[in-house]
């Protein structure tokens, strides 16, 4: 396979597409499928065949505004239809050539106009299971260009110049990471893609893996060439069966086309990728825990150093990047690092995909340039809070992040600004909360999450999160005291400073940020014994909202020391 052959494939796809007058692209992402887009696609295909028109019906990855699903886009007109049901399939097909169906037309111009699509450029345009569709949109061109026209060092230089930072949340400069692995000695090096999207409330990586799997594979191959890697692993959550299936197909197709395997593009470079399934452990998003899991062990993290770049998988130098980081690589190589660094803010370059969810009108996936104001994402792109409620806070970074209050909506979204606000960029979950959300309860939810997800290796995290949960539960059900609050603050500092890995070190963030901005809500619970949002069940009896009365009697959980004291 060489660049000319890629061009030929792209040309043949264009010829094939030219045989059709219209294309009906149906979003087949999880959210749309849950609203019946699979039946819709079949109905459209049937109607297209019956009509005798030259229509191609194509399934695609996530188009973005999930709340308007199922979505259908008609090309070449680029008309977007929303809330389409199978019964409307015939109307859509018969309208082709005579103007759009007005009642189905989707008016989301503001939603789309403020976005810049780099990672999601193919989403909604290609069939994720067809490698030729990807090639027709300049797929694998970056890989072959890098292999034939660039040295590994030049590839790393481009990445460094682009200013790309890790999209998993930490924001470590990708170029620097690659250079470290490239410098590490050893014949055998591994390249790992972290697709263990454990942050509850985020689904960007799932959408990329499902909607454009080849982009991830290509990014990994380029990375392997740059750092001298021989073997790649994609670590995917078992909860994402479709992503696993799509990636499996993508790897098989790439091998068939000679874009993975031995002597890629007739060069001495050989690289292959395997998939490893996660099994439901949030801590496995931490790189040393992820490595342990690939080795078939319990996902317990190890102290660093040594960093995986020096001694990772089976003791070999290992490069680990997030799905979205790899998805950015091909466009950077194609367009150059300068092109990428022209987007974004001063220290955060490029774009970021966010999963916009919670109490907001247009839920779904959005991709925005770094530095964009939070207000613009929430109010313009997201369409604001529905139902006449008032916006209270937005949670970013999942269980490791924090809540940013309404009065800070004018900060620009970048690694540093979010960090300064007491939250983190995280993998890209953005959960909007309104006046019906209780911030103390939200903090308790995240601590409960960290408590159950703690691997148990180090004591601050294992015992600290459990005690924090007990304290927050007491505050939530109205039995908390000011002493509890002091204890909570003290525990936050201890857990943050003494935990072994990122899970424990960041676990107090949701508590600290809500304490910083919503201390009045804590005080209401403690002093006035009331929940301003009306969420918490102030006693009696209501111990834990997860347990009904019948279950409470049956359970024999030991009373915590705090309950005994009380």
């Amino acid at each position: 396979m060489n660049i000319e052959e890629l061009e030929q494939i792209a040309e043949s796809v264009r010829l094939e597409n030219g045989r059709f007058d219209y294309e009906l692209n149906v979003c087949m992402d999880l959210a749309c499928v849950s609203q019946g887009s699979d039946r819709l696609r079949d109905a459209l295909a049937k109607a297209a065949e019956a009509s005798g028109k030259k229509v191609r019906v194509r399934r695609t990855g996530c188009m973005g505004p999930c709340s308007s699903g199922p979505l259908v886009r008609v090309d070449p007109e680029e008309t977007l239809y929303h809330h389409v049901t199978s019964s409307q399939a015939e109307a859509i097909v018969s309208s082709l050539g005579s103007g759009p169906v007005p009642e189905l037309q989707c008016d989301l111009n503001e939603h789309f106009d403020n976005q810049v699509r780099v990672v999601l450029e193919n989403a909604g345009h290609i069939d994720p299971e067809k490698i030729d569709d990807y090639i027709a949109r300049e797929g694998y061109k970056a890989l072959l260009t890098a292999l034939t026209e660039m040295t590994p060092l030049e590839v790393i230089q481009q990445i460094t110049e682009s200013g790309l930072r890790g999209r998993g949340g930490g924001g470590y400069p990708t170029g620097l990471k690659w250079a470290t692995v490239a410098k590490a000695s050893g014949d055998l090096k591994y390249v790992i893609c972290n697709g263990d999207e454990g942050d509850p409330g985020a689904f960007m990586d799932r959408s990329v893996m499902e909607g454009d799997p080849h982009r991830v594979v290509e990014g990994m191959a380029i990375a392997a060439y740059a750092v001298g890697g021989n073997k790649g692993y994609i670590y995917v959550r078992a909860e994402y069966p479709v992503a696993v299936a799509r990636l499996t197909t993508a790897i098989r197709e790439a091998r068939r086309r000679g874009l993975l395997g031995n002597n890629i593009g007739n060069t001495p470079f050989s690289f292959d990728v395997e998939i490893r399934l996660g099994a439901g452990a949030f801590v496995c998003g931490e790189e040393t825990a992820l490595i342990a899991s690939i080795e078939g062990k319990r996902g317990a993290p190890k102290p660093r150093p040594p960093y995986p770049a020096v001694s990772g998988l089976w003791g070999k130098p290992t490069l680990i990047n997030n799905v979205e980081t790899y998805a950015n690589i091909a466009p950077i190589i194609r367009n150059g690092g300068k092109w990428f660094s022209a987007m974004g803010s001063e220290r955060s370059k490029g774009t970021k995909v966010f999963a916009l969810t919670g109490k907001i009108s247009h839920t779904g996936l959005v991709e925005v340039p770094m530095g964009i104001k939070l207000r613009q994402i929430i109010e313009v792109i997201g369409g604001g809070v529905p139902g006449g409620h008032t916006f209270k806070a937005v949670q970013t970074g999942g269980p490791s992040g924090g809540c940013i209050p309404a009065e800070m909506m004018d900060i620009g979204v970048s690694y540093d600004a979010l960090m300064a606000a007491g939250s983190i960029m995280g993998s890209g979950g953005m959960i909007v909360m309104d006046d019906t959300s209780c911030m103390v309860n939200v903090a308790r939810f995240f601590i409960e999450f960290c408590m159950t997800e703690s691997c148990g290796k180090c004591i601050p995290c294992r015992a600290g999160t459990a005690q924090m949960h007990t304290l927050l539960t007491r505050i939530c059900n109205g039995s908390g005291t000011m002493h509890d609050l002091d204890l909570l603050v003290e525990l936050c500092a201890t857990v943050k400073e003494t935990s072994l890995c990122g899970l424990g070190q960041t676990a107090p963030n949701p508590v600290l940020s809500t304490l910083k901005y919503f201390k009045n809500e804590y005080m209401e619970h403690i002093v006035n014994k009331r929940c301003p949002a009306g969420v918490c069940n102030i006693r009696p009896p209501a111990p834990d909202s997860y347990q009904p009365a019948c279950a409470k009697q049956a359970s024999s959980s030991p009373a915590s020391p705090f309950e005994v004291l009380a």
Partner: protein, 165 residues
């Protein structure tokens, strides 16, 4: 050194051949433990001691280590699932949209706790950490099929359909 011979299959149940196939594909490497356990769970629905022991012996991993892996990861289950499974997503977006009330309602209706199966073995009630359909929160999976923006009535109606069956 004696060449390693894997133990015989526990029974002539065809599913063991699938399990063995996964291990053979990975050259009976110890690192294939999680992969193999996934195959066992997808074939049998859960992992019992015999299955874990068989996998541990085949991959030359101590039983304790294999058991440790099974109990570490939430995805693995040591109990057989019910005929039907309702899974309620407890991710952040779903929680904000009230999935805890769904769980409470389901627990009340079925008389079991999350993670348990009704006595007649008909319905299992599970919670998931996040299924990635956050834009349609709250989300429920009825026998694996994703339903978004679920109300309490819809969920109870689904449970009712399964109970009547």
């Amino acid at each position: 050194m004696q060449p390693f011979t894997p133990p015989p299959l526990p029974s002539d149940d065809k599913r063991w051949k699938i399990v063995n196939g996964t291990m053979r594909k990975n050259g009976f490497a110890r690192s294939a433990l999680i992969e193999t356990l996934h195959t066992v769970q997808s074939s049998f629905g859960y992992l019992d001691n015999d299955a874990i022991r068989f996998v541990a012996l085949s991959l030359r991993v101590p039983f304790s280590q294999a058991y440790g892996v099974v109990t570490f990861y939430h995805y693995f289950s040591l109990k057989p699932p019910g005929k039907h499974t309702v899974t309620i997503c407890a991710g952040t977006a779903c929680y904000i949209k009230g999935s805890d009330k769904l769980v409470a309602a389901a627990q009340e209706r079925l008389g079991i706790l999350q993670g348990q199966t009704t006595k007649d073995g008909n319905i299992s009630l599970m919670t998931a950490r996040c299924v990635g359909a956050c834009s349609r929160a709250p989300v429920m999976l009825a026998d694996g099929e994703v339903a978004g923006e679920v109300t309490g009535e819809q969920m109870l109606a689904q449970l009712e359909r399964w109970t009547v069956e």
